[in-house]
Symmetry: C2
Subunit: 632 residues, 2 copies
């Protein structure tokens, strides 16, 4: 069913903004996270490397030293770092990094039990508890991330050690759940999408079969976790086994219609489902994915591509419940939304998927990391008011500044691996066509022979040039947000065939296609069904959502009002290197009085400054707002 | 220090709107709640009467039947009902009701231990746990409500049985905490304010001394609950003993500046503090009360007089954090705010206190009860959106409709007793002056000899007439919200001495003073520091806050916009008997598009209908909003 597929990591070499982000990840984030994982960065303790060492000792019957430390899913931090490192090596060979990765892989391999099982939490703490708590134990979640790392590392280096560890682990799981027919499915989906990657890297059909198994059985016995809980005498967090929304197991996945529960689990599951639907031509599964996609993007998604409105269960709540200030909008969830979008796009190349993928990437995913690559947001609210945010009991999770690390450190390495593998999302290919989904500067080689060089200062400049070093069939996305897109071929305006938001072209060698996308700042309104956003608007330009920060606006963004006719332009003021601010004709409301008062606040003309949302919170604690009240 | 004092319940006979509310409570609410407490109303189980029976059995060493049922503070429901019944009997003698009350009093008396202890939870379940858990046990909270009932019943009937039970219980507590010097102070403040009432009813100085003791020791040892927790092996709810904000014990009360924690506990404590400050001329205590008053009314109070912004701990959160939709704004907390305001007013007759007292009463307290007196809100949000309210994890406490009863049933009887005793708040007196704080229709006799008849259709009509059957010095409040108040004496406009918002007059017999208060609907804005309320306004008229309900506005209040120039008038349409709606020139925003879209919504002129907030949610589940976006 797949109309086109993700590229492999080696096919794209980034330049421009993406290149800079990758360079930041390569030179700063990956080394920094390596130090964190080895507990050398002076941040929140990780102990990930030591967990593997101690697990290996446990397997050999030796002293396990200081034992296990961290979350039940602590292993996944190592796997995600390894995956980012693999992508980094593919992007730019680095012998030192490869050595570090090889050492970690050896540690991991040594922590694998003879039967293929790997998980340091259970291996160190209590081997008898293996597989007794799928609800909370995260064994398959950790395996999934290892499989992703194994596939990536094999692709990047050609080395099989980690791939073989993964396959042996997959075989162990296959044996348990397929051959032996043991009941159950993963508490935190992830292994489904990862098994598909492992299948593609290794060709091992059992990986595909196991992924299909977990997708098929999920929710068929919706009381599985309840029974499991009754049968065990231990718990990690005391999770409610009956919360079917949280677990996405209230019905078989093919019957699910609303995106519910823990947002990361949800989109990881949907990614696996969409990949499987495409891989196995499963129309029914695809239709379920489509419904879930609509549930998210039409009713439960922030304008930043953030998902998960509530801290309670880090979860989707209900339709149109999209509070700005108490948002959860976890960084990982927006990574997952990109993954889901990318798999939907494989089945049907339609700009709506790439639009959302880009929306999530350029706003929430990038906001997850400070501009210096050394601190990270887990939660990405659309409004920050020091004094309330991070302090009020309902806002405790909405921090005003990015911490250096987290006890639950899922997000930082997720940002790193997503940026490093952006080529997989930005481009795609069918047997005969090269697809350009995002405007990612750099050089890309497609299997159909097309070689494209993309030159652009996107997402800040909306002129995008594709030069074909080798020609061939090429499809270029025209984003939904661009009302006036001009396409020229070798300097001449053309009107190519357009289908589902993609322009289909046949390029000769050395052709030059230029896109001139709509570069005007635009005002965005929200459905009248979203209580939070009535009477408000926000400003976007290209794929970027803009925000207003106190530091640029006399310390007070609460009194800013937008005019209903937007007048805004790029300034020469650069908030960060090469990132220009927007100047916006606005109004300031000057109300006098106490808590409640009677005299109508006066509005005075002023020029407000807005910056890309992903740049927020980089200049000290300050007010921040995306949605402002509009004045007609 | 007291400049004037609350009236006793017998001095005011209500008519007009207050009379109607009292009649509703007398004929419907009190009998209904009596049935509930006896488990005859088909609602949430109460078991209150049976708890007392079973406790008496426990004391006699007999079989305790079906034991204890309910909250640890279940006894207080009986006490609050009894207090309301006492007020009701004072207002209008009722032999049947008095018989029911006497029977309940006998039950209570039989459940009192020989040493004066009364509490059915501990007496039935485990007498050894008495006084081991002040943090959660609510023993003094229940005693406090009993003392209030005892004082009221004595005042209403002259019967001493319950008063003597209370004094014996107070003596028991005095013996423990004063004579024996045992450490500790009440987890849930209430006994402080109640001991002052018991002192005034009985003249027993030890009640005053005990109240002073608990006020003085609170927070001096802020680790008391922590030590207590370490010393006990049981818990009710697993409360955090270190949450000093929640417990109002982070410092001695005289040093407290911010209203924090559980809002009902807070204002009950502050009421006791203010009463004590006035009673004992304690300037330092008064100054603390004043700071706490400002913390509430200048930074932490809803326009409805609701307090407690967050469900987490049913508590105050931080300054300017006043979400409409996820508000807690417990009914009891607004009763408590009235109590606090009334005690502050005793010390200094200033309209600001009566303004807030009225704001809390006519909006949140009255909203706590359905118009038929048979269902009740515990939580009073300022916005209700079916589909989100009561459903989203962050809005579960914000019900769209009033239930018939609650497992935790503190609020319904609190509304009943507050309405029945409104005269205590509406009027006051010093040795030489009769004070009129609220415009409560009815007849009032003051100790200075003044007898006033107040005639008015307030709060719907702003004309108030006071006729002096007997003349004398009289002070009448001029509300802060009335910009143009005209005062006439016997038909002639006068300009009396005005001090702190009170007009001081000396009336001859049969004088007629008329107040013409500002009756124009007014638009209210909020401080620019309240993120929730930027760009919004609400409508008030007199003491009433108005809301827009879907049922009056084509099902959709989210798309309503206010014009910056308010044009609104009373309609002849009465939403309930004698309660007129407001018609408001407004706009409807008609936005087209999906979740986020680009075309500016059109505004069309329309006439919206607003009703008093306290009448909301009486006509089925529907959208409701107080604060609307304004369009300039």
């Amino acid at each position: 069913m797949k109309a086109q597929r993700q590229l492999s990591i080696r096919q794209y070499k980034a330049s421009g903004f993406i290149g800079e982000q990758q360079e930041l990840v390569r030179t700063t984030v990956i080394p920094y996270q390596y130090d964190v994982l080895r507990d050398r960065a002076g941040t929140e303790k990780s102990h990930v490397f030591d967990n593997f060492k101690n697990a290996a000792a446990a397997l050999s019957g030796e002293d396990t030293g200081d034992g296990f430390y961290g979350m039940v899913f602590q292993d996944s931090d190592a796997a995600k770092w390894l995956e980012a490192a693999a992508f980094s090596i593919a992007v730019k060979p680095d012998r030192e990094l490869e050595k570090e990765a090889d050492e970690l892989i050896s540690l991991i391999a040594a922590a694998q039990d003879r039967d293929g099982y790997i998980n340091t939490y259970f291996t160190i703490k209590d081997r008898d508890k293996r597989w007794t708590n799928l609800l909370e134990g995260h064994e398959m979640y950790c395996s999934g991330h290892l499989f992703e790392a194994g596939a990536a590392y094999y692709e990047a280096t050609g080395k099989r050690e980690l791939l073989d560890v993964c396959l042996k682990n997959a075989e162990h799981i296959y044996d348990r759940f397929v051959t032996q027919g043991k009941a159950g499915y993963p508490g935190h989906p992830e292994i489904e999408l990862a098994l598909l990657k492992l299948y593609r890297a290794s060709g091992d059909e059992r990986c595909l079969e196991l992924a299909k198994h977990f997708i098929d059985v999920r929710g068929v016995d919706k009381d599985f976790y309840k029974k499991e809980k009754q049968a065990r005498d231990w718990t990690v967090w005391g999770n409610n086994a009956d919360d079917h929304d949280y677990q996405q197991n209230g019905s078989p996945v093919r019957l699910q219609k609303d995106a519910t529960g823990h947002a990361v689990r949800a989109v990881y599951l949907y990614t696996g489902m969409a990949d499987m639907a495409g891989e196995s031509d499963d129309e029914e599964l695809y239709n379920a994915c489509r419904k879930l996609w609509e549930s998210i993007t039409e009713r439960r998604m922030y304008v930043t591509g953030g998902i998960g409105s509530t801290v309670h269960g880090e979860a989707f709540s209900v339709d149109y419940d999209l509070p700005s200030d108490t948002a959860y909008a976890e960084t990982c969830a927006s990574c997952g939304l990109m993954f889901f979008a990318s798999r939907m796009l494989e089945i049907k190349p339609s700009a709506e998927y790439a639009d959302v993928m880009e929306q999530a990437f350029y706003n929430t995913v990038l906001a997850g990391m400070a501009r210096d690559g050394k601190s990270f947001f887990y939660v990405n609210p659309l409004e920050c008011i020091p004094g309330i945010s991070g302090v009020s009991p309902t806002h405790r999770h909405d921090l005003t500044q990015r911490p250096g690390w987290y006890a639950c450190a899922c997000c930082p390495p997720n940002v790193a691996r997503t940026i490093m593998s952006l080529g997989q999302y930005a481009y795609g290919e069918s047997d005969d066509t090269a697809f350009c989904h995002m405007y990612a500067a750099g050089e890309t080689s497609f299997k159909n022979g097309v070689q494209l060089v993309c030159e652009t200062a996107y997402p800040f400049d909306m002129n995008v040039t594709y030069r074909s070093k080798k020609g061939g069939k090429t499809a270029v996305r025209l984003p939904g947000w661009s009302e006036n897109t001009v396409i020229t071929l070798n300097g001449k305006e053309i009107e190519p065939e357009i289908k589902n938001g993609y322009a289909y072209l046949t390029l000769a060698d050395n052709d030059e296609v230029k896109l001139k996308l709509d570069d005007k700042p635009r005002m965005i309104f929200a459905s009248g069904r979203v209580p939070e956003l009535t009477g408000k608007a926000c400003i976007c330009r290209g794929p970027l959502v803009y925000c207003f920060e106190g530091v640029d606006n006399d310390g007070d963004v609460l009194s800013l009002r937008l005019k209903s006719e937007l007048k805004a332009e790029l300034t020469k003021v650069q908030v960060f290197d090469d990132i220009p601010a927007l100047s916006v004709e606005a109004l300031r409301s000057q109300g006098k009085g106490s808590l409640y008062f009677r005299e109508r606040p006066k509005l005075t003309e002023m020029t407000a400054k807005a910056i890309p949302y992903f740049c927020c919170a980089n200049r000290g604690e300050t007010q921040m707002r995306i949605w402002l009240p509009i004045v007609y």
